[in-house]
């Protein structure tokens, strides 16, 4: 990745947050007592983002929705500190993505890695893992109770429909989910995708002042 390319990507991403109010004006529906009128952003929160208390690699307690997701552009993945297989390559890949995104990470873009083995992933183990990979601010490694981490994994779709395959944690580590919470734009991509492709996918859910100017084109 050349500096030029990196600079142009950062410029393209821009840095001006734009937030739709959480309780947006309710859609006008015909009065149908069978159904509730719930703003779609709120419905997404109810479905996917339980407000669980998690612990960061810095030992801080945070609420999943209130502190980590609300009003932000976020990137999710799964890992565990002692993972011998694909964890480190994915983490190293994401470090490159973090570098490509520059100081946007920590400002309005945040990376979150959730532990698949919360019982062995102590704060110290998470901190060691983060330091070993030289991650920069704006990226948190998170653990919690086993039940909470399992709930989170399922809520965020890090699952395989086959129960036997689902038991193999390596199947959940290779996947990234990302999105813009207030804009309700979400996507997923492989964690081993080329870093510029991941940064490109994240740029597509950027705030509209910036993303609306971009159009297609390929070599």
């Amino acid at each position: 990745m050349t500096d030029l390319k990196r600079r142009s990507l950062i410029a393209a991403l821009g840095a001006a947050p734009f937030a739709v109010p959480l309780l947006a004006k309710a859609q006008t529906l015909d009065a149908n007592p069978k159904f509730k009128v719930i703003p779609s952003r709120e419905r997404i929160r109810q479905r996917y983002f339980p407000n669980l208390v998690l612990t960061t690699h810095e030992g801080k307690q945070v609420k999943f929705y209130d502190d980590l997701v609300k009003d932000k552009i976020v990137v999710f993945n799964m890992f565990y500190a002692k993972c011998e297989g694909i964890c480190s390559p994915v983490t190293r890949n994401l470090v490159r993505v973090q570098n490509l995104l520059g100081d946007r990470v920590g400002k309005d873009i945040f990376f979150y890695s959730f532990s698949l083995k919360p019982k062995e992933d102590t704060v110290a183990a998470l901190k060691h893992y983060a330091e070993m990979h030289k991650v920069k601010p704006g990226w948190l490694f998170l653990t919690g109770t086993a039940e909470d981490m399992e709930l989170l994994r399922r809520k965020l779709g890090f699952v395989d429909p086959d129960p036997e395959v689902d038991k193999d944690t390596s199947n959940h580590i290779g996947v990234l989910k990302y999105g813009n919470e207030p804009l309700e734009r979400w996507g997923g991509c492989p964690g081993m995708q080329a870093p510029d492709a991941i940064a490109e996918a994240i740029s597509w859910v950027d705030w509209p002042e910036d993303s609306a100017k971009k159009n297609g084109g390929a070599k």
């Binding site: 779609s40 694909i86 996947v175």
Partner: protein, 617 residues
């Protein structure tokens, strides 16, 4: 595969339990209507999975969790809409240009390559915009906010004609599309689009390449010359009539976001007639008349767009599973935008054009008659391409994006009721289990009542066609391929892959380069017993050379048909034959389970005048 059989045993037990529970309820005197009222039965006739009642048991921990169930709706009340035909416009402002009209807000980045050769004869406008529709009988579900072409879903039907042989280009059209989608997506939908004409022989800047997207406020001119493949190569001046295509469709193809955008409504249909498949049952092949597409007394050629959706149990609104990577199944089955509608027909022959727009379900469609009888019908095409002759079948299987044209003969059936019934069992997004359910045990999708007035039927009776080729016949497959390429569709670390690779960036160099006007042999491999994939190649139709080493029998007319989606089933290897002719540009090969497609199961290639020798792109 050990886990498959284990899974089947468990499923069989659950199914048996469900059947027993249903029998008990029926024995206790409950009627279907009671069950519906009690909320224990879905419109499609499936028992809701409470206390082991479900006919479609939930099979894994992943699916048990927060598995959505749509609110109940009453089936077979509303009429099936006939798709409205799009009218051309006199002119476009600003006038179309060969080079992208960037200054006026066009999002195209590549100049039209065949505009001067085939100047557009007619112009159309399609606007990607929000619309409000009712998908269920009034009062049962709230009005749904969709994104559609001209605000409708399915979008308007484009009916066009190839230029006659000897005067190619008379069918050339230009469709201007304008992205007027809102920023507020209501929970899902990506307001950046590119439209693929599936599967036009179209200059590739107009093909809807996934990276050639345009954003809100922009427009994009799509030039569709509507010419037969071979026009600038093997059959100069005419094209090869054996490459005629008749049932096409157009849909959003935005890289990474096709599933949500097509699920939200961005798909429509496209028919091409010519001097053989004329749309008039008194001429040419004498297939049932299209008429004006609306009048039931004169229109007997009907496009049916199938898709399955889920509605939120609390809000009643269309629900899209944002974080699913396996494939999304709905529990409501729509035809032309309505859940379980009714079609009234006259006692005569009809041409139905079946299209499955997904997102992930496969169908095996039967025509169910009274007393659980199965009515045979005639399959006349694969993916909109006429076979050598009609073939009598009891069912047709089609995965996402496949099309099947059939002739169903209701002559002498006045007063009877039929159903289109999907009997292919599928429990999750991986693909069907392979089990085909018994008559009446599947999902009834469309009710067909033969209560229309008696009307003349001058269409050909397929039963009386003499032996031999009736339509065009198939092109030969004798030319020596320039290269054989292998594409292995697989899953690793929970990621979809082709040849162990991921789709990569839009700005990356093409993974493979096809040399224009050459023949290639491709091998599609699926080494998994767990997943199936509808594999789609843009721009050219292929012919199947072999499946698992066995060439199609000479009598296997359907297996030999030209296609653009290969249904790659469990542990299957297929060899297919392609000719890439006439035009150049960027081109994707991908899985058309749109959820797999959005998660990197795609290869971005190109056609140029050099080509490469990459045998495993």
């Amino acid at each position: 595969m050990a886990y498959i059989s284990k899974r089947n045993r468990r499923k069989e037990k659950e199914r048996q339990t469900a059947a027993n529970n249903r029998s008990e309820l029926i024995a206790a005197g409950f009627k279907r209507r009671d069950l519906l009222k009690m909320g224990l039965l879905t419109s499609a006739g499936m028992l809701i999975p409470k206390k082991g009642l479900s006919a479609h048991p939930i099979t894994s921990a992943g699916m048990v969790f927060d598995d959505p169930q749509s609110p109940p709706t009453t089936p077979f009340v509303e009429n099936m809409p006939r798709l409205p035909v799009l009218a051309p416009v006199a002119s476009l402002t600003p006038a179309p240009t060969i080079a992208p009209n960037t200054a006026a807000g066009e999002g195209r980045t590549v100049s039209h390559q065949a505009f001067a050769q085939f100047p557009p004869q007619r112009f159309y406008e399609l606007i990607q915009q929000q619309g409000t529709v009712l998908m269920a009988p009034a009062g049962e579900l709230p009005p749904q906010t969709i994104w559609g072409f001209n605000g409708t879903t399915p979008g308007p039907l484009i009916v066009e004609r190839y230029g006659n042989l000897g005067s190619p280009g008379n069918g050339s059209i230009l469709v201007r599309q304008r992205n007027n989608l809102p920023s507020n997506n209501g929970g899902f939908g990506f307001p950046s689009v590119t439209t693929h004409l599936h599967n036009g022989h179209t200059p590739l800047e107009s093909d809807g390449f996934p990276c050639f997207f345009f954003t809100q406020g922009q427009f994009y001119d799509y030039h569709y010359p509507n010419v037969y493949a071979g026009i600038n190569s093997t059959h100069p001046g005419t094209g090869d009539i054996k490459e005629a295509m008749h049932s096409l469709w157009y849909h959003d193809h935005r890289i990474d976001h096709t599933a949500e955008n097509t699920y939200k409504g961005l798909a429509g249909t496209y028919i091409l007639f010519n001097e053989f498949d004329t749309g008039n049952e008194n001429t040419g092949f004498r297939l049932p008349s299209f008429g004006d597409g609306q009048n039931p007394l004169t229109s007997f050629d009907i496009y049916m767009v199938f898709n399955d959706k889920v509605f939120d149990e609390q809000t009643g609104l269309l629900r899209f599973d944002l974080f699913n990577t396996d494939g999304i199944l709905g529990d409501k089955f729509l035809v032309n935008g309505k859940i379980n509608p009714v079609l009234h027909v006259s006692p005569r022959r009809y041409r139905f054009r079946w299209l499955n727009t997904g997102p992930s379900r496969f169908y095996q469609m039967f025509v169910l008659g009274p007393n659980n009888t199965t009515k045979s019908f005639w399959q006349i095409s694969t993916d909109g391409n006429l076979l050598e002759r009609p073939v009598q079948v009891n069912s047709a299987r089609f995965s996402v994006a496949e099309r099947v044209d059939v002739i169903v003969d209701f002559t002498g059936q006045a007063g009877k009721t039929f159903y289109l019934e999907n009997r292919l069992e599928q429990d999750d997004g991986r693909g069907p289990t392979g089990d085909v359910l018994g008559a009446g045990q599947g999902t009834k999708i469309l009710k067909i009542v033969v209560d229309g007035p008696a009307v003349p039927d001058n269409s050909v009776n397929p039963a009386t066609i003499p032996a031999g080729t009736y339509f065009y016949g198939f092109p030969n497959t004798n030319d020596v391929p320039r290269i054989t390429r292998t594409f292995r569709f697989e899953r690793g670390n929970g990621q979809w892959q082709v040849n162990g690779q991921l789709v990569g960036s839009c700005s990356a160099a093409p993974r493979f380069r096809i040399k224009r006007n050459t023949v290639e042999k491709w091998i599609f491999q699926n080494n998994s017993g767990g997943w199936q994939h509808p594999i789609h190649m843009h721009f050219e139709e292929f012919q199947t050379l072999s499946i698992n080493g066995n060439p199609p029998a000479s009598t296997g007319i359907i297996q030999r048909g030209r296609k653009d989606v290969f249904r790659l089933e469990h542990n299957m290897e297929a060899q297919v034959y392609f000719r890439f002719r006439d035009f150049v540009g960027r081109i994707p090969l991908h899985c058309h389970n749109v959820v797999h497609e959005d998660h990197a199961m795609m290869v971005l290639g190109a056609i140029d005048d050099v080509g490469d020798n990459n045998t495993q792109p």
